[in-house]
Amino acid sequence: MSSYLELTARQRIPAMFDAGSFEEFLPPSKRIASPHLAQLDAPVSYDDGVVVGRGLLGGHIVFGAAQEGAFMGGAVGEVHGAKLVGMLRRAIDEGAHAVLLLLESGGVRLHEANAGLIAVSEVMRAMLDVRAAGIPVVAVVGGANGCFGGMGIAARCANTVIMSEEGRLAMSGPEVIETANGVEEFDSRDRALVWRTTGGKHRYLLGDCQLLVADDTAAFRAAALEAIAALGAGAVGLTLEGLLAEQAMLARRLHDAEGVSEPMEIWRRLGVPDPARVPMLEADAFLTLAAQHRAGLPSDAAHTGEQ
């Protein structure tokens, strides 16, 4: 087993795509870095924290991106965002088979906040344009820094979200919530609670993540292949029916979680026996357990994104 979490963005690309097939757009040798960091005395990176390009996945032409969580927390700045948008638009131009986004991001990069905020909304719109063009978009969340802020929203604009248990998908980080509303609201040092609240297993049980895998590059690659194959069979653009189904799921979630403040209680209400055991279960055992209980099951709709 080779950990996905421990790899850099640049190492994840060859682990996910067919060997030697990936061609990077605007590679580091072009030295296109953030124009805003120098004046804040912050170091730049020649890829601005994201690798974008085109490769083969299972023999199909798939466009892809990988955010580097260790560079400024994977946060989106002007160049970083523009690279994502350019890649997404090119995927449409070239009729890609799919788009695979390896996300790891704290959201908007505060050092260039306004540009980052606009950029994240541009990424979201571009992702939905890709889907409207009939190209499936798959997001992978398995890095140590999770996927937060605007990118946490963007991830849910994909058709399918693949996570590991170690991955986190949310909006505001626990530290931000603790700072704003106190340690009683969210104890950011209680990492077990942080993962129960935002981690892959919880997201899978809630229906916000469609595939859960062990932290293993081969498992992530297999899941990406599976997701793309499943999506290839149907419509991948937004539909009224799909959004109505998602709305029903989200409304039901609100209703079912009335008065609940502990994620384990949500699992219990979903019918998961002995919820306290869930965090320790290995991926396979968890999937077996979750199969009968997770919300947003395939019986409600196809197992893709918002359906």
């Binding site: 421990e6 077990a192 981690g199 965090p279 320790m280």
Partner: protein, 554 residues
């Protein structure tokens, strides 16, 4: 004064204190059990101005309820206490000085309070008697710093005052014995009062009073290191340690300091060391807290025994299931004992290896930084040659032989004391310096001598990412200095090396680089770690290890 009274002053005084307490507490005192709401009244009754008071602050468990109660006493009745603390880590430990309840301090380690302690000492709010090692402080409890009153912590008590400390026995026996047998008064806070204890750790007739604390005592998981944070440089250093020192000297009995450097070694035992065929030959017997990072090595059959200073949160069930390795009572839980384990580390171990913050050109190492009086804890007890040791072992004899070779001295062994540091710490702070910050700290705070953690003449090896300097083989002060410079990397100390002399030391095997040891640096990746993260440790333990929630990502 009567003839008998002349020799029973302390006993008479003790009796008077107990009587005062019984009068003051009335119905709030049932046998030895005191109601928590009356704890300050008890302290008023049994304390006298100027008393030596030992407040149990350990590395792990803390008598925090009694510590807080002490800050609430009336200074008109209780003042000028002389506090004895092995670990001074909670705010209330210093509040008593700020409030004028206590004025003198003897201690060993101050951890998170080090900065505030330096400020208070600088402002003349407290008078530090001395900064000790643990064993040294315990020793003085029996000589000239015997407590009048001891405030201790235990897991449970029964109605006779027998105490069960659970796995965190730590300092309790040393404190209670010194106090109880010299007419002092022992007050214990416990989490629970029960009819029948799982086992008796402290006999009830040593204990004067028991109070059930409203909240369980505070306990700190101090020895847990998340393998996810171990760097590839630390893996390389661990490889060098195993091949260049553990294998070289066949070290079977040892102590590890706490830190990511030593955690990396622990996690490389079942992989790298096993690959070198070292299982059963090295690292068999340990004086060590139950480091979670040691689990894979234990499971791999490397480790035969571990005696511990204290326990570690989350390791309880694992220890209970491995009684062949750990010291456990008939109830199944571990019995730790800091005094015995310190003695074991000093006399019965062939090697100590640990990290430090600064090393000077004589090899003196210090963790002192400006503005902080951190103290020593137990490292100096482990990291010092046991001059009283007489029993031989291969490692001890080899070290002694290397140190004495070519000199006209009688054969004798020596303990291996290894300091392991990266040449730069974070923010490019050099680990090698011409002059330790300890000198300046001593001047600032009026200490008699600079606070040195491990003295240079006890250090036998310095290990950095650049190489291992074997100081045993150095034959002059100059060689010693160049050997240190020769592993000091690109620090100013390292760059000022005499390159020719360093090359000569390398030819003589006094300095050894990774490649001299036959280590391929490209092998030094995190893939060598037997567990790469906390969940890996849990898996290795078969689900028995239950890490504190702050260490989880699941």
């Amino acid at each position: 004064m009567t003839a008998e009274g002349r020799w029973t002053i302390q006993q008479d005084n003790r009796r008077a204190r107990l009587e005062r307490a019984s009068n003051a507490l009335g119905g709030a005192l049932k046998g030895k059990l005191v109601e928590a709401s009356h704890i300050v009244e008890l302290l008023h009754a049994v304390l006298e101005p100027g008393d030596r008071v030992c407040l149990e602050g350990n590395n792990q468990k803390q008598a925090d309820f009694l510590g807080k109660a002490l800050t609430r006493v009336d200074t008109a009745r209780v003042h000028d206490l002389h506090m004895l603390l092995s670990v001074l880590s909670l705010p209330e430990h210093l509040d008593v000085f700020e409030k004028g309840i206590a004025s003198k301090l003897d201690f060993s380690f101050s951890g998170p309070q080090a900065g505030r302690l330096a400020k208070l000492a600088g402002a003349g709010r407290l008078n530090i008697g001395a900064i000790h090692t643990y064993l040294e402080l315990f020793a003085r409890y029996f000589i000239d710093l015997t407590p009048r009153v001891a405030l201790i912590a235990a897991e449970m008590a029964d109605r006779e005052g027998n105490l069960y400390t659970g796995p965190n026995t730590e300092d309790t026996p040393a404190i209670a014995e010194a106090t109880a047998f010299k007419s002092g008064i022992v007050i214990a806070q416990v989490n629970q009062i029960v009819d029948k204890l799982p086992r008796v750790d402290i006999p009830g007739d040593w204990v004067g009073y028991v109070v059930q604390s409203p909240t369980p005592y505070y306990i700190e998981p101090l020895f847990t290191r998340d393998p996810a944070q171990i760097s590839e440089i630390q893996v390389l250093m661990a490889m060098m340690a195993i091949k260049g020192i553990y294998a070289e000297y066949q070290i079977e009995r040892l102590n590890h300091g706490i830190g990511f450097d030593t955690a990396a070694i622990e996690l490389l035992l079942p992989t790298y060391a096993a690959g070198l065929g070292l299982k059963g030959k090295i690292a068999r017997h340990w004086a060590l807290n139950p480091h979670p990072a040691l689990i894979p090595a234990i499971e791999a059959g490397f480790v035969e025994s571990v005696h511990s200073f204290g326990s570690e949160l989350g390791m309880e069930n694992y220890i209970r299931a491995r009684p062949d390795v750990f010291f456990v009572g008939p109830d199944g839980s571990m019995r730790s004992n800091r005094a015995f384990s310190q003695a074991a580390g000093h006399y019965a171990c062939d090697m100590f290896i640990g990290s430090t913050l600064q090393i000077d050109l004589q090899g003196n190492s210090s963790t002192a930084t400006l503005g902080r009086i951190a103290g020593f804890g137990g490292a100096p007890n482990m990291g010092a040659d046991a001059r009283g040791r007489r029993h031989p072992s291969a490692a001890w004899l080899k070290a002694g032989q290397q140190a004495r070779e070519g000199r006209n001295t009688i054969p004798r062994g020596q303990k291996l004391v290894v300091q392991m540091v990266e040449t730069f710490r974070e923010h490019m702070a050099p680990a090698f310096v011409e002059r330790l910050d300890a000198w300046q700290l001593a001047e600032q705070t009026g200490m008699a001598i600079p606070p040195v953690m491990i003295y240079g003449d006890d250090v036998t090896h310095i290990l950095t990412e650049e190489g291992i300097a074997n100081l045993l083989l150095c034959r002059s002060d100059e060689e010693r200095e160049q050997a240190i410079r020769g592993v000091a990397g690109y620090t100013p100390v390292g760059m000022a090396r005499d390159k020719r002399m360093v090359e000569n030391l390398r030819e003589r095997g006094i300095i050894r680089r990774a490649e001299d040891l036959g280590i391929d640096k490209r092998m030094a990746t995190r893939d060598l770690l037997a567990a790469k993260n906390m969940k890996g440790l849990v898996r290795a333990s078969g689900g028995l290890y239950d890490p504190p929630k702050r260490f989880r990502n699941w």
